[in-house]
Symmetry: C2
Subunit: 85 residues, 2 copies
């Protein structure tokens, strides 16, 4: 594994877990008032673009990473709509 792959994969792993603490915090506090729905929308658009880019260049790590992030962001949108505070 060369150093470039290392950073690419490390970046992918970190990206995948990045939003987990935020999802857990919202779940625990049942509050997502301070989160910006516009930012969540951009996050969905963002990971969808990277997901498409990954598919086009056949980069599985990029697709897996952004698939996981997409799932977490969709959960945050669902919580924000559900915990209407």
């Amino acid at each position: 594994m060369n150093i470039q792959n290392f950073f690419g994969i490390a970046g992918g792993i970190v990206s995948s877990v990045t939003f987990l603490p935020q999802v857990i915090k919202i779940w625990k506090t049942k509050s997502a008032k301070d989160l910006s729905m516009v930012t969540l929308f951009f996050l969905i658009l963002n990971v969808s673009l990277w997901l498409t880019y990954g598919a086009l260049i056949g980069d599985l790590p990029l697709m897996i990473t952004n698939g996981i992030v997409l799932a977490m962001v969709l959960m945050m949108v669902y919580f924000k709509l559900t915990f209407k505070q």
Copy 2:
């Protein structure tokens, strides 16, 4: 510009503006209580990895995108520490 470049650059542009609405919302409401500091930490680690990866492969768009995102995340950490709610 082939389609791969399009998605790469589009992803970069969207990534750069993604957190702007969140920074503005925190600034307006002076509240960042619902944001997870752990997620902000992972975001910093995440963009630092992608910044390093971009530098290693000499990919300027990747470096610019993640430089902008890093600045915005650092602002959110500063606000979260400042607006102590």
